[in-house]
Protein backbone atom coordinates (compact mmCIF):
# COMPACT_ATOMS: atom_id res chain seq x y z
CA UNK A 1 0.00 0.00 0.00
CA UNK A 2 2.75 2.38 1.02
CA UNK A 3 4.64 1.62 -2.18
CA UNK A 4 1.54 2.27 -4.24
CA UNK A 5 1.06 5.64 -2.57
CA UNK A 6 4.72 6.53 -3.08
CA UNK A 7 4.48 5.46 -6.72
CA UNK A 8 1.36 7.53 -7.21
CA UNK A 9 3.00 10.52 -5.58
CA UNK A 10 6.06 10.06 -7.81
CA UNK A 11 3.91 10.00 -10.95
CA UNK A 12 2.11 13.14 -9.86
CA UNK A 13 5.31 14.94 -8.96
CA UNK A 14 6.75 13.88 -12.31
CA UNK A 15 3.63 15.14 -14.10
CA UNK A 16 4.11 18.41 -12.25
CA UNK A 17 7.77 18.66 -13.18
CA UNK A 18 7.29 17.97 -16.90
CA UNK A 19 4.54 20.51 -17.36
CA UNK A 20 6.52 23.26 -15.68
CA UNK A 21 8.49 23.55 -18.91
CA UNK A 22 5.90 25.75 -20.58
CA UNK A 23 4.76 27.71 -17.59
CA UNK A 24 1.28 29.11 -18.10
CA UNK A 25 -0.23 31.35 -15.48
CA UNK A 26 -3.60 33.00 -15.14
CA UNK A 27 -4.00 35.59 -12.41
CA UNK A 28 -7.31 36.57 -10.92
CA UNK A 29 -7.36 40.05 -9.38
CA UNK A 30 -10.46 42.10 -8.53
CA UNK A 31 -12.47 39.34 -10.25
CA UNK A 32 -10.69 39.81 -13.59
CA UNK A 33 -8.40 37.29 -15.26
CA UNK A 34 -5.04 38.36 -16.66
CA UNK A 35 -4.32 37.53 -19.41
CA UNK A 36 -7.90 37.34 -20.61
CA UNK A 37 -6.65 35.45 -23.66
CA UNK A 38 -4.27 32.58 -23.06
CA UNK A 39 -2.59 30.90 -26.03
CA UNK A 40 -1.70 27.22 -25.69
CA UNK A 41 -0.35 24.57 -28.03
CA UNK A 42 -3.03 22.45 -29.69
CA UNK A 43 -3.09 18.65 -29.33
CA UNK A 44 -0.98 18.69 -26.19
CA UNK A 45 -1.74 18.31 -22.51
CA UNK A 46 -1.17 21.66 -20.85
CA UNK A 47 -0.95 22.73 -17.24
CA UNK A 48 -2.15 26.16 -16.18
CA UNK A 49 -1.49 27.65 -12.76
CA UNK A 50 -4.44 29.77 -11.72
CA UNK A 51 -3.42 32.33 -9.12
CA UNK A 52 -6.23 33.84 -7.11
CA UNK A 53 -5.02 37.20 -5.79
CA UNK A 54 -8.45 38.10 -4.40
CA UNK A 55 -9.42 37.32 -0.81
CA UNK A 56 -12.61 35.61 -2.01
CA UNK A 57 -12.66 32.03 -3.32
CA UNK A 58 -13.47 31.41 -6.97
CA UNK A 59 -14.57 28.45 -9.03
CA UNK A 60 -12.63 28.23 -12.26
CA UNK A 61 -15.04 26.71 -14.71
CA UNK A 62 -15.15 25.82 -18.37
CA UNK A 63 -17.55 23.29 -19.81
CA UNK A 64 -15.62 23.28 -23.06
CA UNK A 65 -12.34 22.54 -21.28
CA UNK A 66 -14.18 20.10 -18.98
CA UNK A 67 -12.83 21.80 -15.88
CA UNK A 68 -14.45 22.79 -12.62
CA UNK A 69 -12.09 23.77 -9.87
CA UNK A 70 -12.28 25.76 -6.65
CA UNK A 71 -9.43 28.18 -6.06
CA UNK A 72 -9.53 29.52 -2.48
CA UNK A 73 -8.76 33.20 -1.84
CA UNK A 74 -5.08 34.21 -1.78
CA UNK A 75 -4.12 30.84 -3.17
CA UNK A 76 -3.44 29.04 -6.40
CA UNK A 77 -4.59 25.93 -8.19
CA UNK A 78 -3.29 23.81 -11.01
CA UNK A 79 -5.56 23.04 -13.93
CA UNK A 80 -4.70 20.31 -16.41
CA UNK A 81 -6.31 20.58 -19.82
CA UNK A 82 -6.04 19.17 -23.29
CA UNK A 83 -5.15 17.77 -25.70
CA UNK A 84 -7.23 20.46 -27.39
CA UNK A 85 -8.21 20.80 -31.01
CA UNK A 86 -7.35 24.25 -32.38
CA UNK A 87 -10.06 26.68 -31.33
CA UNK A 88 -11.39 28.98 -28.65
CA UNK A 89 -12.28 27.66 -25.21
CA UNK A 90 -14.02 30.19 -22.98
CA UNK A 91 -13.77 29.97 -19.19
CA UNK A 92 -15.29 31.89 -16.28
CA UNK A 93 -14.97 32.36 -12.56
CA UNK A 94 -18.37 30.96 -11.67
CA UNK A 95 -18.85 33.12 -8.59
CA UNK A 96 -18.28 36.35 -10.54
CA UNK A 97 -19.32 35.46 -14.05
CA UNK A 98 -19.92 39.10 -15.10
CA UNK A 99 -16.28 40.12 -14.83
CA UNK A 100 -14.19 36.99 -14.34
CA UNK A 101 -14.02 35.58 -17.84
CA UNK A 102 -11.47 34.73 -20.45
CA UNK A 103 -10.62 32.37 -23.24
CA UNK A 104 -7.99 29.74 -23.92
CA UNK A 105 -6.90 29.75 -27.55
CA UNK A 106 -5.43 26.49 -28.80
CA UNK A 107 -3.31 26.79 -31.94
Amino acid sequence: MRRIILGLAAILVFAGATARADDLTLTLKDHHFTPAELKVKANKRVMITVVNDDVTPEEFESKKLKIEKIIPGKSKGIVRIGPLKPGRYPFVGEYHEDTAKGVVIAE
Binding site: A9, L12, A15, P57, K63, K66, S75, I78, R80, P83
Partner: protein, 274 residues
Protein backbone atom coordinates in the same frame (compact mmCIF):
# COMPACT_ATOMS: atom_id res chain seq x y z
CA UNK B 1 -29.21 38.92 -4.87
CA UNK B 2 -30.79 36.98 -7.72
CA UNK B 3 -27.35 36.09 -9.02
CA UNK B 4 -26.34 34.61 -5.65
CA UNK B 5 -29.64 32.73 -5.49
CA UNK B 6 -29.06 31.16 -8.90
CA UNK B 7 -25.43 30.24 -8.16
CA UNK B 8 -26.31 28.53 -4.87
CA UNK B 9 -29.41 26.87 -6.31
CA UNK B 10 -27.31 25.47 -9.16
CA UNK B 11 -24.91 23.96 -6.65
CA UNK B 12 -27.57 22.38 -4.43
CA UNK B 13 -29.71 20.89 -7.24
CA UNK B 14 -27.59 17.75 -7.44
CA UNK B 15 -27.70 17.03 -3.72
CA UNK B 16 -31.42 17.90 -3.74
CA UNK B 17 -32.20 15.37 -6.46
CA UNK B 18 -30.21 12.67 -4.72
CA UNK B 19 -31.95 13.25 -1.38
CA UNK B 20 -35.36 13.21 -3.09
CA UNK B 21 -34.58 9.91 -4.82
CA UNK B 22 -33.18 8.35 -1.64
CA UNK B 23 -36.30 9.38 0.30
CA UNK B 24 -38.49 7.78 -2.37
CA UNK B 25 -36.33 4.64 -2.51
CA UNK B 26 -36.68 4.17 1.25
CA UNK B 27 -40.41 4.73 1.23
CA UNK B 28 -42.09 2.75 3.97
CA UNK B 29 -38.92 1.96 5.87
CA UNK B 30 -39.08 2.93 9.53
CA UNK B 31 -36.22 5.07 10.78
CA UNK B 32 -35.30 6.41 7.36
CA UNK B 33 -36.04 10.01 8.38
CA UNK B 34 -33.40 9.75 11.07
CA UNK B 35 -30.84 8.23 8.69
CA UNK B 36 -31.40 10.80 5.98
CA UNK B 37 -31.22 13.63 8.54
CA UNK B 38 -28.02 12.05 9.81
CA UNK B 39 -26.67 12.00 6.23
CA UNK B 40 -27.57 15.63 5.57
CA UNK B 41 -26.20 16.76 8.94
CA UNK B 42 -22.97 14.84 8.43
CA UNK B 43 -22.72 16.26 4.92
CA UNK B 44 -23.11 19.85 6.09
CA UNK B 45 -20.52 19.34 8.82
CA UNK B 46 -18.19 17.67 6.31
CA UNK B 47 -18.76 20.44 3.76
CA UNK B 48 -17.75 23.08 6.30
CA UNK B 49 -14.59 21.15 7.20
CA UNK B 50 -13.73 20.57 3.52
CA UNK B 51 -14.32 24.25 2.74
CA UNK B 52 -12.05 25.22 5.62
CA UNK B 53 -9.28 22.96 4.31
CA UNK B 54 -9.95 23.74 0.64
CA UNK B 55 -6.53 25.31 0.22
CA UNK B 56 -4.68 22.36 1.73
CA UNK B 57 -6.72 19.82 -0.25
CA UNK B 58 -6.08 21.73 -3.45
CA UNK B 59 -2.31 21.82 -2.91
CA UNK B 60 -2.05 18.12 -2.02
CA UNK B 61 -0.74 15.59 -4.59
CA UNK B 62 1.06 18.16 -6.73
CA UNK B 63 -2.05 20.30 -7.07
CA UNK B 64 -4.35 17.42 -7.98
CA UNK B 65 -5.76 17.00 -4.46
CA UNK B 66 -9.17 18.48 -5.18
CA UNK B 67 -9.67 16.31 -8.27
CA UNK B 68 -8.60 13.14 -6.45
CA UNK B 69 -10.81 14.06 -3.50
CA UNK B 70 -13.85 14.58 -5.73
CA UNK B 71 -13.16 11.39 -7.67
CA UNK B 72 -12.94 9.42 -4.40
CA UNK B 73 -16.19 10.89 -3.06
CA UNK B 74 -17.97 10.07 -6.31
CA UNK B 75 -16.46 6.59 -6.44
CA UNK B 76 -17.53 5.83 -2.88
CA UNK B 77 -21.08 7.10 -3.50
CA UNK B 78 -21.20 5.01 -6.68
CA UNK B 79 -20.25 1.85 -4.76
CA UNK B 80 -22.90 2.58 -2.10
CA UNK B 81 -25.57 3.02 -4.76
CA UNK B 82 -24.52 -0.19 -6.43
CA UNK B 83 -24.64 -2.02 -3.11
CA UNK B 84 -28.12 -0.67 -2.49
CA UNK B 85 -29.42 -1.86 -5.85
CA UNK B 86 -27.84 -5.28 -5.49
CA UNK B 87 -29.33 -5.60 -2.02
CA UNK B 88 -32.73 -4.56 -3.33
CA UNK B 89 -32.49 -7.08 -6.16
CA UNK B 90 -32.28 -9.75 -3.50
CA UNK B 91 -34.77 -8.45 -0.95
CA UNK B 92 -36.95 -5.98 -2.85
CA UNK B 93 -39.78 -8.38 -3.47
CA UNK B 94 -40.03 -9.37 0.20
CA UNK B 95 -40.14 -5.71 1.20
CA UNK B 96 -42.77 -4.83 -1.39
CA UNK B 97 -44.89 -7.77 -0.22
CA UNK B 98 -44.46 -6.77 3.40
CA UNK B 99 -45.39 -3.18 2.56
CA UNK B 100 -48.63 -4.38 1.05
CA UNK B 101 -49.48 -6.73 3.92
CA UNK B 102 -48.59 -4.59 6.93
CA UNK B 103 -49.39 -1.20 5.49
CA UNK B 104 -46.45 1.09 4.92
CA UNK B 105 -43.96 0.53 7.71
CA UNK B 106 -41.31 -2.14 7.36
CA UNK B 107 -39.32 -3.09 10.43
CA UNK B 108 -36.24 -1.02 11.06
CA UNK B 109 -32.90 -2.39 10.01
CA UNK B 110 -34.35 -4.47 7.19
CA UNK B 111 -32.75 -2.24 4.62
CA UNK B 112 -29.16 -1.03 4.51
CA UNK B 113 -30.06 2.56 5.25
CA UNK B 114 -26.46 3.28 6.11
CA UNK B 115 -25.45 2.98 2.43
CA UNK B 116 -28.00 5.56 1.35
CA UNK B 117 -27.25 7.82 4.31
CA UNK B 118 -23.62 7.81 3.15
CA UNK B 119 -24.71 8.65 -0.41
CA UNK B 120 -26.74 11.59 0.90
CA UNK B 121 -23.88 12.71 3.13
CA UNK B 122 -21.35 12.60 0.28
CA UNK B 123 -23.64 14.51 -2.09
CA UNK B 124 -24.22 17.23 0.49
CA UNK B 125 -20.52 17.32 1.31
CA UNK B 126 -19.40 17.72 -2.31
CA UNK B 127 -21.93 20.35 -3.37
CA UNK B 128 -22.16 21.93 0.08
CA UNK B 129 -18.47 22.75 0.33
CA UNK B 130 -18.81 24.92 -2.80
CA UNK B 131 -21.82 26.69 -1.30
CA UNK B 132 -19.94 27.25 1.96
CA UNK B 133 -16.97 28.72 0.07
CA UNK B 134 -19.24 30.93 -2.02
CA UNK B 135 -21.10 32.25 1.03
CA UNK B 136 -17.80 32.72 2.85
CA UNK B 137 -16.57 34.72 -0.15
CA UNK B 138 -19.61 36.99 0.08
CA UNK B 139 -18.99 37.61 3.75
CA UNK B 140 -15.26 38.12 3.24
CA UNK B 141 -15.88 40.77 0.58
CA UNK B 142 -17.70 42.81 3.23
CA UNK B 143 -20.06 45.76 2.77
CA UNK B 144 -22.44 44.83 -0.07
CA UNK B 145 -22.66 41.29 1.26
CA UNK B 146 -25.99 41.16 3.07
CA UNK B 147 -28.28 41.14 0.01
CA UNK B 148 -26.09 38.51 -1.62
CA UNK B 149 -26.13 36.45 1.55
CA UNK B 150 -29.92 36.56 1.61
CA UNK B 151 -29.87 35.47 -2.04
CA UNK B 152 -27.58 32.59 -1.17
CA UNK B 153 -29.79 31.44 1.69
CA UNK B 154 -32.86 31.68 -0.55
CA UNK B 155 -30.94 29.50 -3.02
CA UNK B 156 -30.58 26.83 -0.32
CA UNK B 157 -34.30 27.14 0.46
CA UNK B 158 -35.11 26.74 -3.25
CA UNK B 159 -32.92 23.64 -3.27
CA UNK B 160 -34.87 22.20 -0.34
CA UNK B 161 -38.14 22.92 -2.13
CA UNK B 162 -36.73 21.17 -5.18
CA UNK B 163 -35.93 18.12 -3.03
CA UNK B 164 -39.53 18.05 -1.81
CA UNK B 165 -40.76 18.31 -5.42
CA UNK B 166 -38.59 15.37 -6.48
CA UNK B 167 -39.79 13.30 -3.55
CA UNK B 168 -43.50 14.01 -3.96
CA UNK B 169 -43.18 13.54 -7.71
CA UNK B 170 -41.78 10.07 -7.11
CA UNK B 171 -44.49 9.35 -4.51
CA UNK B 172 -47.02 9.60 -7.33
CA UNK B 173 -45.52 6.38 -8.69
CA UNK B 174 -47.68 3.40 -7.61
CA UNK B 175 -46.22 1.22 -4.83
CA UNK B 176 -45.93 -1.74 -7.20
CA UNK B 177 -43.47 0.09 -9.41
CA UNK B 178 -41.73 2.38 -6.95
CA UNK B 179 -38.71 0.12 -6.36
CA UNK B 180 -38.12 -0.56 -10.04
CA UNK B 181 -38.36 3.16 -10.78
CA UNK B 182 -35.99 4.16 -7.96
CA UNK B 183 -33.75 1.23 -8.92
CA UNK B 184 -33.40 2.60 -12.45
CA UNK B 185 -32.85 6.12 -11.18
CA UNK B 186 -30.15 4.89 -8.81
CA UNK B 187 -28.43 2.90 -11.57
CA UNK B 188 -28.28 5.98 -13.84
CA UNK B 189 -27.19 8.13 -10.90
CA UNK B 190 -24.34 5.71 -10.19
CA UNK B 191 -23.26 5.57 -13.84
CA UNK B 192 -23.26 9.37 -14.03
CA UNK B 193 -21.13 9.59 -10.88
CA UNK B 194 -18.65 7.04 -12.25
CA UNK B 195 -18.18 8.95 -15.51
CA UNK B 196 -17.78 12.21 -13.59
CA UNK B 197 -15.16 10.54 -11.39
CA UNK B 198 -13.33 9.37 -14.54
CA UNK B 199 -13.15 12.96 -15.76
CA UNK B 200 -11.82 14.17 -12.40
CA UNK B 201 -9.10 11.52 -12.61
CA UNK B 202 -8.28 12.79 -16.10
CA UNK B 203 -8.10 16.36 -14.75
CA UNK B 204 -5.76 15.07 -12.04
CA UNK B 205 -3.41 13.84 -14.76
CA UNK B 206 -4.28 10.18 -14.15
CA UNK B 207 -6.35 7.99 -16.47
CA UNK B 208 -5.58 10.21 -19.45
CA UNK B 209 -6.28 7.48 -22.03
CA UNK B 210 -9.29 7.72 -24.35
CA UNK B 211 -9.56 11.46 -23.77
CA UNK B 212 -11.04 12.35 -27.16
CA UNK B 213 -14.38 14.16 -26.95
CA UNK B 214 -16.93 12.01 -28.80
CA UNK B 215 -19.76 14.47 -29.39
CA UNK B 216 -20.84 17.97 -28.50
CA UNK B 217 -24.47 18.69 -27.63
CA UNK B 218 -23.85 22.10 -26.04
CA UNK B 219 -25.86 23.73 -28.86
CA UNK B 220 -28.87 21.69 -27.77
CA UNK B 221 -28.63 21.74 -23.98
CA UNK B 222 -26.00 23.61 -22.02
CA UNK B 223 -24.68 21.75 -19.02
CA UNK B 224 -24.60 25.07 -17.17
CA UNK B 225 -28.36 25.70 -17.53
CA UNK B 226 -30.69 24.65 -14.71
CA UNK B 227 -32.21 21.85 -16.78
CA UNK B 228 -28.75 20.77 -17.93
CA UNK B 229 -27.60 20.63 -14.32
CA UNK B 230 -30.60 18.53 -13.39
CA UNK B 231 -29.94 16.05 -16.16
CA UNK B 232 -26.26 16.09 -15.21
CA UNK B 233 -27.14 15.06 -11.65
CA UNK B 234 -29.84 12.61 -12.70
CA UNK B 235 -28.32 10.66 -15.58
CA UNK B 236 -24.83 12.14 -15.78
CA UNK B 237 -25.56 14.37 -18.80
CA UNK B 238 -22.34 15.85 -20.18
CA UNK B 239 -22.30 18.10 -23.22
CA UNK B 240 -18.88 16.84 -24.34
CA UNK B 241 -18.30 13.29 -23.11
CA UNK B 242 -14.91 11.71 -23.69
CA UNK B 243 -14.48 8.14 -24.88
CA UNK B 244 -13.38 7.19 -21.37
CA UNK B 245 -16.50 8.72 -19.83
CA UNK B 246 -18.74 6.73 -22.16
CA UNK B 247 -16.83 3.50 -21.50
CA UNK B 248 -17.07 4.02 -17.73
CA UNK B 249 -20.75 4.97 -17.92
CA UNK B 250 -21.77 1.88 -19.88
CA UNK B 251 -19.39 -0.30 -17.86
CA UNK B 252 -21.02 0.81 -14.59
CA UNK B 253 -24.50 0.02 -15.89
CA UNK B 254 -23.36 -3.40 -17.13
CA UNK B 255 -21.59 -4.19 -13.86
CA UNK B 256 -24.67 -3.23 -11.90
CA UNK B 257 -26.91 -5.32 -14.14
CA UNK B 258 -24.70 -8.39 -13.80
CA UNK B 259 -24.40 -8.02 -10.01
CA UNK B 260 -28.16 -7.60 -9.66
CA UNK B 261 -28.77 -10.72 -11.76
CA UNK B 262 -26.38 -12.70 -9.59
CA UNK B 263 -28.07 -11.41 -6.43
CA UNK B 264 -31.53 -12.18 -7.72
CA UNK B 265 -30.78 -15.78 -8.73
CA UNK B 266 -28.87 -16.78 -5.62
CA UNK B 267 -29.65 -20.28 -4.23
CA UNK B 268 -30.83 -18.66 -1.01
CA UNK B 269 -33.48 -16.74 -2.89
CA UNK B 270 -34.74 -19.92 -4.54
CA UNK B 271 -35.10 -21.68 -1.20
CA UNK B 272 -37.20 -18.80 0.04
CA UNK B 273 -39.32 -18.94 -3.10
CA UNK B 274 -39.98 -22.67 -2.57
Amino acid sequence: MLGALVIVFREVIEAGLIIGIVLAATRGVAGRGRWVTFGVGGGVLGATIVAFFAGAISQAFAGAGQELFNASMLGLAMIMLMWHNVWMARHGREIAAEMRSVGTAVSEGVKPLTALAIVVGLAVLREGSEVVLFLYGIMASGTSGSALLVGGLLGIAAGAAFTALTYFGLLAVPTRYIFSVTGWLIALLAAGMASQAAQYLNNAGLMVALDRVVWDTSWMLSEGSIFGRMLHALIGYTERPTEMQLVVYIGTLLAMYVLMRIARYSPREREVAV
